[in-house]
Every structure is written in C-alpha cells, then in structure tokens.
C-alpha cells in the first residue's frame, strides 16, 4: 500500500498550530514513516500538489491570497481539516472584524511613529478582505481540530487515525461551527 499524502498549510494564523505539530518531537520521525509529507511551510515545495489525501489548514482567511489558496487546496485534497481555532472560528485573526479594515491599517501605519504610509502593495502584497472569514465560510471542511493551538498529543492521534482510515474521535465536538 502506498503511503498517504499529508499536507499542512498556513493561512492567517500565528504559526502556533504548526509549532504544536512540530511538538510531536521525535514522533515526527514516526509520522514520516506513516505518511509522505508532500507539502508544508517547512519544506520547499512551492505549489500545492494534486492528489493530497489529508490537508491540515491553520489560520483564518484574511486576504485575497488566502482565499485563492483555500479554494485550490480544497480541490486538491481528499480530506480537509480546519486545524486550530483560527481556522475554525476566526479566533484572534478575526478580532479585527470589530473594526473597519481601513482603521486597522491606518492605526498600524499612519498613527504611530511612522514615516511613509499604508503599504499599497505594488501589485505584490495581497489585498486584505473586508472581514476575516472562517475556513468553512469559504470551502467545505471535513474535520475540525480545535485548540489554540491543538495539543501535540491530540494532533498525533488525530492524524494517525485519519491515515489509518478511521474517524478521529475529536470531531464530535464540531467546535465553533
């Protein structure tokens, strides 16, 4: 049997969920035996591959790049997991929804001890969405793995279950949905 293909993706989050994934510590070596980690921010594959079996998505959908990436990732993944509270509820990333996006930007780039102005992007920096969205607002999500971040032990069991074709226990909670 060929190994399951696993990917991890990072949208609008703090990377804490990914760090918790790395907190598998030496179990990372075991995981690499069980699955082929075909795409992750800690490796050099630039384009999200086709035919991924399981994808963990950290973070909320906060800008146009995230929106584009989320859709592409959904199309190319068998099982899509909202990985951590930012992906599930918007969490801290979505706190800016209390304000107008212009006010948030101008607070950061105009009001303080700044020379210059709000970055316009030069066509390179993606435009922020008016409101930060949950992953499930944008694409269909198969499983929810809650926590800020989810603890490493929970991640390990969850991923091992998915690789083994089992339904992971934690999904009963459908946190934040």
């Amino acid at each position: 049997m060929s190994k399951k293909r696993l990917a991890t993706v990072w949208l609008g989050g703090c990377s804490g969920c990914h760090m918790s994934f790395l907190d598998l510590d030496e179990r990372l070596l075991d995981l690499a035996e069980l699955a082929d980690v075909c795409y992750t921010p800690i490796a050099d594959v630039k384009e999200f591959p086709h035919n991924v079996d399981i994808t963990l998505v950290e973070g909320a959908v906060a800008n146009e790049d995230h929106l584009r990436d989320a859709k592409k990732i959904r199309e190319r993944s068998g099982i899509l997991v909202a990985f951590g509270d930012c992906a599930i509820t918007g969490n801290v990333t979505a706190l800016r929804n209390l304000f107008n996006v212009e006010d948030v930007l101008s607070r950061a780039y105009r009001d303080s001890m700044i020379v210059g102005g709000v970055p316009e992007g030069d066509g390179i920096v993606p435009k922020l969405l008016e409101k930060v969205l949950r992953l499930q607002d944008v694409v269909a999500v198969d499983y929810f793995l809650p926590g800020c971040p989810p603890p490493a032990d929970v991640i390990f069991q969850f991923v091992v279950d998915l690789i083994g074709g089992k339904t992971p226990a934690v999904t009963g909670r459908k946190f934040g949905s």
């Binding site: 630039k46 384009e47 790049d65 948030v104």
Partner: protein, 474 residues
C-alpha cells in the same frame, strides 16, 4: 529588456513573503526586494480590552516566540501597576525566556536551515528539508528535535503549556517553581551541551564550502542594536540598549529601553507590510540597524558563561571590530543556545528562583507602560496606553524581525547581484531564500501576523511590465 524575478512563496521561513528581483536592459540586477504579505493588526484589535488580557492576546502574535510577547507584555503591565516584581518571578521569566531562545534557535538551525547547510544549496528542492535530512542524517536531526523539545518542555513545565503559556502577567507569575520541575530540567543539560557542541563543530567544518555565500549573502557594515547588562555582557531580560557600528565603534550606550521611541523611528514602504525601523539620529534609511543573534554577539563584550565565552572570543575573530556577514547569524545562534543552556543550569542552583513570593499586588497606577526584552530574533518593545479603568486605548509594538527588514532587503539584493545568472536556476533561487533565512525572520511577529512565505521570481520589463515568472515548483 529588463525583467523582474519573483520568488513566491519563500519557504522554510516563519511567515508569508515574496522576493522580487528587478533586472535592467542589460540583464543586470537593478534592485531586489523582500515583501511581507501578511497583516493582522494587533495594534488595533487590543483596543478597549483590559491590560491584564494583553499577555494572552499578544502571545497570539506569534506561535514561535510567544514567550517574548508574553514577557514584553507582562513587563509593560508591571509598569502600569507601578511595581517591582518579586525576585522569584523575575527569575522564572528569565528561565522561560532562555528556554524560548533555545527552542526557537533549534527550530531555525536544525529544522529550517540545516538542509541548506548540510545537504547543500544546490541539492534537489524536494529533498532539501527536514524529511530529506531524516533520511541522510537521522541522528543529527534527532539531536536538534530534542534540543527544541528541551526548550519547549521547560516552557511547558513552568508556563503550563508549550505554546501561548499564560503563566506570567502584570505583577509577576502565577505558580511557584518547584524542585520537581528542577529535577526534570537538570536531566537534559549534559545532552544539550553535547548536542550544541556537535552542531557547532559541524557548522564550522562546512563553512569553508560556503565562502562565496559568507562573502556575498548579506555582508555589509551596519549599525547593530542589542540589550546588554550593566557590565556590557549578553542580556535577554532586563538591561540597557547599546548600539555599535560595522567597525565595532560605540554609537550609543546605556539607552533606556523604556524610552525607545525617543531614539528609534519606523518608516513604511508601499511594497511590504513589514515596517522599516531606524535609529533616529541617523535618519531613514541610513539609520537602519541589525538585531538578533549576530547583533547581540557584536554588541555585547562578553557572554558571562564558560562555554559561550570561549566560542564568543573565537567568533569575534571573524570580523574586524564587528562580524558583518549575515551568514554568521547561524553560528551566533548556536553560540546563544550554548549560553542559554548554561544560564538555565545556573538558575537551577539559584535559591531565589524557589522563593514563595511571586506576585506584586497593585491596582492601576500609571496610564502608560513599556515592556522590552530580547526575543530570539532581536529586541522587542511593547508600549501601551490605558484609560482610567485599565482598558487599552492604544498599543505600539516594535518587533524584533522588522528591525532587520532593511538588512534583509540589502541581503537579497547582494545575493542576486552575485548569484543571478542569465538563466536563474534552482540553486540561485534557493540562495535568495537562504539569504533571508539567515535572519530567521518571524514574519508573523513583524507584521503581527504569520504565515507561509511565498517565493516567486518575477521578471519585469523596463516599465515594470511582467515578462516572465519563475515559480519554484517541484
């Protein structure tokens, strides 16, 4: 016909970013830029919330160095209360800060950069990562995983949780340190010292094969800024700011970190969400400076621990007055890991760490507070304003990585000039990324956001029109 090369996403970095290289008609590099594409706006979203919530909220700026934000935030809170916290609380915060520098540097060196250093800049991209390293150098990688684990376990033992620990806040910390915790920690120390020593030997032994990279991937004079203690030694939690230049001359000394805004300013450029801090007396952009491991070893006169001092003396020999090659951030990082482990060992013997008093109780006494510390990537400053009820009215955050922004831009430009040929190949693309990776940028922090870094090499014409785009696809 001039071209623009865009690298997207920049990978094995902690954040979302792109690199672009502009070529002129003759195919020569006109400029190269590093763009940060993420933004979360913590300066705004904190408004109206109680300052006691800030360590927990600001921690979410970054999952790699949450402890730095917890500490800067707790210290700003201490100042709002107007208290001096008990010695045991200070020592606990110091301990957890050392643990964090250790785990974060282990991540940067072993998980992210050692594939370049040990497998080579030109090795196949699909293997040039920790999984490739697992096949080739399993035990070396395991030692790095365990070093990170050591740091993370201290954070968990003391802070209750590895990522976003909530144990420290305005006035002190919430739990006493116990001998059981000490016993857990001391077990790890001999292995850690040994593993870091082996990594140092490995890195030094391959440096010769990176001569060109050392010389051209970010080698320029600049100012360096870091916290030092009263004697001018390495310091990560409480001290004064010292600034030196590319020849090792002192530019400013004994600056008060609580008044950073009187001598540091920030600029913004339209092409990046990351700001460009500068030393005000020199203006922008001349006043740009570097922070982090390389800066700390340049600015501090000594380490103050046995093994780290030996390495630091040797390190300082690599420059004249200052080590200006950003490639040596890697070496500096390993030396700091050694130092942090030694300091952790010392703290385990310190009776004050175990004392009962851990909280200074007070209500709000000031309307403005500043907290600063050395984060893994450099000096971090939080400045808060609150109303009479202690609700936040404003926050300014000066983030470690952002202070290397100008240097990172200079580094990609220098690297592009040296390594970019008519037909950019994978090795060149990787070197552009590796130039950035030296700084271990935490872009989550620097834009108060974090994500994956894109790497696209975009080729544009004289008027900026796109000619060709090269994406790293494997």
């Amino acid at each position: 016909m001039s071209r623009r090369i865009v690298i997207e996403p920049v990978t094995r970095l902690e954040g979302h970013a792109k690199i672009t290289v502009q070529l002129d008609d003759a195919g020569q590099v006109r400029s190269a830029r590093f763009h940060v594409t993420e933004f979360r706006g913590f300066e705004k979203i904190c408004e109206g919330r109680p300052f006691h919530e800030m360590p927990g909220l600001m921690s979410r700026i970054c999952g790699i160095c949450p402890v730095s934000h917890v500490l800067a935030s707790s210290k700003a809170g201490d100042m709002l209360l107007g208290v001096e916290i008990p010695p045991a609380a200070t020592k606990q915060r110091r301990l957890v800060n050392y643990a964090q520098v250790l785990q974060s540097h282990a991540l940067s060196f072993f998980h992210l950069s050692s594939p370049d250093l040990l497998l080579g800049m030109d090795s196949p991209p699909e293997k040039r990562n920790i999984f490739g390293l697992m096949e080739q150098d399993r035990e070396f990688l395991r030692s790095g995983i365990r070093l990170r684990q050591f740091g993370q376990q201290i954070i968990e033992l003391v802070g209750g949780k590895r990522i976003h620990p909530g144990w420290s806040g305005p006035g002190g910390v919430h739990e006493r340190f116990t001998t059981r915790q000490r016993d857990e920690i001391v077990k790890w120390i001999p292995e850690s010292i040994e593993s870091i020593g082996i990594a140092l030997d490995r890195l030094k032994s391959v440096l010769d094969s990176f001569r060109e990279e050392v010389a051209h991937m970010g080698n320029f004079p600049s100012l360096f800024l870091a916290t030092v203690n009263e004697e001018g030694g390495l310091e990560y939690y409480d001290g004064v700011i010292r600034i030196t230049d590319g020849s090792g001359n002192t530019i400013a000394e004994a600056l008060d970190p609580h008044r950073f805004y009187t001598y540091l300013g920030e600029a913004s450029e339209s092409y990046s969400f990351m700001k460009f801090p500068f030393y005000q007396p020199f203006g922008y952009p001349q006043g740009h400076y570097r922070v982090g491991p390389l800066a700390r070893l340049n600015v501090a006169k000594f380490a103050g621990t046995y093994h780290a001092d030996r390495e630091m003396r040797e390190f300082k020999q690599r420059g004249e007055g200052a080590v200006c090659q950003s490639f040596h951030f890697h070496l500096a990082r390993l030396i700091e890991m050694l130092h942090c482990t030694e300091r952790i060992e010392e703290l385990m013997e310190d009776p004050e760490l175990f004392e009962e008093a851990i909280q200074a109780k007070a209500s709000l006494n000031r309307r403005e507070g500043v907290g600063s510390c050395e984060a893994p990537r450099g000096t971090l400053f939080h400045r808060y304003w609150v109303d009479k009820d202690g609700l936040m009215t404003k926050a300014d955050l000066l983030i470690a990585t952002a202070q290397n922004n100008q240097a990172m831009n200079l580094s990609v430009e220098q690297t592009a000039r040296r390594f970019l040929d008519a037909e950019p190949d994978q090795g060149m693309l990787n070197r552009l990324e590796a130039a950035i990776r030296c700084y271990d940028p935490c872009l989550s922090c620097s834009t108060h956001a974090l994500g994956r870094m894109p790497l696209v090499v975009d080729v544009t014409g004289p008027a900026g029109e796109p000619v060709r785009q090269i994406r790293r696809e494997t």
